[in-house]
C-alpha cells in the first residue's frame, strides 16, 4: 500500500514538474538562449611577434565585432591562447569593447602559439564560452615571439646620443691637442681652496660626506672626482680629511681616491686607512652618526657632495650650528633648497658634474663639459625654433623629441 502511494506521489511530482517547466520556458527556449548568447565574431584576426621588444610578447589584433557599436551589445573581448591549432586554449587576457588589440606579454620565445578572440556580450559572459563556440572561432597563428636588436621607435634617442657623443669626443680631442677651453667660474668650487685653507689655519678636521647612494649613481661618481681634489689640497696642507661613508663600495673607492691624491702631492705616508670609514647603510643611522661626529669634533669645513635624500637638512643644519664652512653639491632637486638654505656654497645640479672638470682641468673632463655645452646650445636653439613653429601652427616640432618607453 505504501509502495503504491509512493509511486503515485512520484508520478504526480514528475508530471507537475514537467508542467511547471513548460509554463516557464517556451517550447524553443534552447534556441532563444543560444541566440541571446551569440555575438558577431571578430574579423581579420592576426597574431604577430610584438615588434621592437626584448622578446616574450605576441601582439594579437582584430577588427571589432559588428555588434560592437558602442550601445553595450559587446562588453569586451576574451583572448585565448593554445600551443596547437586544435587546442586546448586558455584565457590569457580580456579587453573592453572598442579595443582591437592585445599584447600577450607572457610567451616563451621557443614555443609556437595560436590565438582565438571571442567577442563577449552579457549573455555569453554569464553562460560561458562553450567548446562549440571555441571551435567556430577563427584561429590566428602559428606565431612565435622573438627579441629584436633595435627598438626603432627610439631612433631619435639614438641619434641624439650619437650627436652628443660626437660633440664630446670632438671637444676632448681639441682639449688634448692643447686648445685652450674656457669655463666660467663656479663660485662653490672657487671656495674649495679657501675652505681647506681655513681648516688648516684652525688646525681642525675636514669632513667629506659623499651622499648615501652607492657607486651606481653618477652623483657619487662625480663626488669621488671632487674628493680627489679636496684630498690633494688636504694632503698638501697636511690637514686631516675624514670621509665617513654608508656604502661599502663607496668606502673602497674613496680610499683609492684619497690614497692616490696623497701620493700625487708627494704625501703617501700621510694617508691613513681610517680616514675613510664605514658607519652604517641605514639612512638616518648614518645621519645620526655624522651629526654626533660634527658636534663633538667640530670640523672647520664640511663638504656634502653626492646624492642626498631626507637626511640633507639634518646634516647641513647641524654643521651650520657648529659654525663650519659648508660646501654642498647635489643633483637631487628636492634636497637642493635645504643645502641652499644652510650651506655657504651650493653646487646646483649640473654644477656638481661640471665641478670635477673645473677643479681638475683634465682635457678629458674639460672636453666633455664643453661638448655638453654645445649640446645645450643645440637644445636652446631647438626650443626657440620649435616654440615659434608650434605657436604659428607650422609644424609639430616637439614630436622629434618624443620618447616611447
Amino acid at each position: 500500500m505504501c509502495s503504491l502511494a509512493l509511486v503515485v506521489l512520484i508520478f504526480i511530482l514528475t508530471i507537475g514538474n514537467a508542467l511547471a517547466q513548460e509554463e516557464v520556458l517556451p517550447p524553443d527556449s534552447t534556441a532563444v538562449v543560444e541566440e541571446a548568447a551569440y555575438a558577431q565574431p571578430v574579423l581579420n584576426l592576426q597574431a604577430e611577434d610584438k615588434p621592437n621588444d626584448a622578446g616574450g610578447a605576441v601582439r594579437v589584433s582584430w577588427d571589432v565585432s559588428t555588434d560592437d557599436d558602442g550601445d553595450g551589445g559587446i562588453i569586451g573581448y576574451t583572448i585565448y591562447r593554445g600551443t596547437a591549432a586544435a587546442g586546448p586554449y586558455e584565457v590569457v587576457g580580456q579587453v573592453p569593447s572598442g579595443k582591437s588589440d592585445f599584447d600577450d606579454g607572457n610567451t616563451a620565445d621557443s614555443l609556437t602559439y595560436y590565438y582565438k578572440v571571442i567577442a563577449m556580450n552579457d549573455a555569453l559572459f554569464s553562460a560561458g564560452v562553450t567548446e562549440v563556440e571555441m571551435a567556430l572561432a577563427t584561429t590566428a597563428g602559428p606565431v612565435q615571439s622573438s627579441e629584436q636588436w633595435f627598438d626603432f621607435r627610439r631612433i631619435n634617442v639614438f641619434a641624439g646620443t650619437l650627436l652628443l657623443s660626437f660633440l664630446i669626443i670632438f671637444m676632448i680631442s681639441r682639449a688634448k691637442a692643447g686648445k685652450k677651453l674656457f669655463i666660467r667660474k663656479i663660485a662653490g668650487m672657487e671656495a674649495v681652496d679657501e675652505a681647506v685653507g681655513r681648516a688648516t689655519e684652525m688646525g681642525k678636521k675636514i669632513f667629506y660626506v659623499p651622499g648615501i647612494n652607492d657607486m651606481d649613481n653618477v652623483q657619487t661618481i662625480a663626488s669621488m672626482t671632487i674628493l680627489g681634489r679636496v684630498a690633494e689640497l688636504a694632503g698638501q696642507y697636511d690637514t686631516w680629511l675624514e670621509v665617513p661613508v654608508c656604502r661599502s663600495l663607496v668606502m673602497v673607492t674613496a680610499k683609492e681616491v684619497v690614497k692616490e691624491a696623497y701620493t700625487k702631492v708627494g704625501r703617501p705616508d700621510s694617508f691613513q686607512e681610517n680616514q675613510v670609514h664605514y658607519l652604517t647603510d641605514d639612512q638616518f643611522g648614518y645621519a645620526a652618526a655624522i651629526d654626533g661626529m660634527v658636534v663633538r669634533e667640530k670640523p672647520a669645513t664640511i663638504f656634502y657632495m653626492g646624492a642626498f635624500f631626507a637626511e640633507s637638512l639634518i646634516l647641513a643644519e647641524t654643521g651650520n650650528a657648529t659654525g663650519a664652512i659648508q660646501i654642498a653639491g647635489t643633483a637631487m632637486p628636492s634636497q637642493l633648497p635645504f643645502f641652499v638654505a644652510s650651506c655657504d656654497y651650493t653646487l646646483i645640479g649640473e654644477e656638481l658634474f661640471a665641478a670635477s672638470a673645473y677643479l681638475s682641468r683634465e682635457p678629458k673632463l674639460l672636453g666633455s663639459l664643453k661638448g655638453q655645452d654645445m649640446g645645450k646650445a643645440i637644445i636652446l636653439v631647438s626650443m626657440v625654433v620649435g616654440i615659434i613653429l608650434e605657436t604659428f601652427g607650422i609644424w609639430e616640432f616637439s614630436q622629434l623629441f618624443s620618447v616611447i618607453e
Binding site: I186, M215, T280, L380, M383, F401
Partner: protein
C-alpha cells in the same frame, strides 16, 4: 613584553630628541645603539637578499650570476696588500657599467622628454588658450630657457647673457622656495608620527 618595547621606543625617541638641547650622554647611547643595530641589520638584509636571495638561489639557472660573484670575490683582494690592486677591476666595472647604462636613460628622461614638454604653442592649440594658460606657457618657456643659460659654462655671465642667467637663477630659487615649503610640510608629518607614538602609544594621553 609589549610594554617593555614601548618603553624602549620612548626612551630611544626622547634620547634622540635630547640632541635638540645639546649633545649629551643619553643621545650618545641612543646614537650608538641606532648605528650598531642598523649596521648589523643591513649586513643581515644584504646577505639574505643579495647573496642568498639572488645569487645562491639563482646560481644554477643564471650563469651570469657567477660573473657578479667573481667580481665580488675580487673585491676581497683588498685584504691582501700584495694583490690589493685587483680590487680596482670590479670597481672599474661598476663605474663603467653605471655610466653606460644610465646614459640612455638620462638622455631620454632629462633631455628629450623635457625638451618635448617645453616646446609648445604658446597661445595654445589653434590659439585657444586662456589668458592664464598663455601666462603659464610663457613662464615655462622663458624659465626653462633662462635656467639652461645659467647652466651654460662656456661663457662668462656678463651683459645680456648674464642678465638671462640671473633670471634663470631667480626661477630656480623660486622653485626651491616652493619645494622647501612642500618638503617641510611632509617632514611635519614625521614629527606628528613621533608625537603620536609618545602621547598615544606610550602615555595613552590621546586615542
Amino acid at each position: 613584553m609589549e610594554h617593555f618595547g614601548l618603553w624602549v621606543g620612548a626612551f630611544l625617541t626622547l634620547g634622540i630628541y635630547s640632541f635638540l638641547y645639546r649633545d649629551n650622554a643619553w643621545y650618545k647611547l641612543c646614537e650608538a645603539i641606532f648605528i650598531g643595530i642598523s649596521a648589523g641589520y643591513w649586513v643581515v638584509i644584504l646577505f639574505w637578499d643579495n647573496f642568498y636571495g639572488k645569487f645562491w638561489i639563482g646560481r644554477e639557472e643564471e650563469p651570469m650570476l657567477w660573473v657578479g660573484a667573481a667580481l665580488g670575490v675580487l673585491m676581497l683582494c683588498r685584504l691582501v696588500p700584495r694583490i690589493g690592486w685587483i680590487s680596482r677591476w670590479p670597481l672599474a666595472f661598476i663605474v663603467g657599467a653605471t655610466a653606460g647604462l644610465w646614459m640612455m636613460n638620462y638622455f631620454s628622461s632629462n633631455i628629450m622628454a623635457q625638451v618635448q614638454s617645453t616646446i609648445m604653442p604658446l597661445l595654445g592649440e589653434g590659439y585657444s588658450a586662456s589668458f592664464g594658460e598663455i601666462v603659464g606657457n610663457f613662464v615655462i618657456a622663458v624659465g626653462t630657457f633662462a635656467g639652461l643659460i645659467y647652466f651654460y659654462f662656456s661663457k662668462e655671465h656678463k651683459g645680456a647673457f648674464g642678465a638671462t642667467a640671473r633670471l634663470g637663477i631667480w626661477v630656480i630659487m623660486i622653485t626651491f622656495g616652493a619645494s622647501f615649503g612642500y618638503t617641510v610640510m611632509s617632514r611635519m608629518s614625521l614629527l606628528i608620527g613621533r608625537i603620536d607614538f609618545l602621547l598615544g602609544d606610550w602615555l595613552g594621553l590621546i586615542q
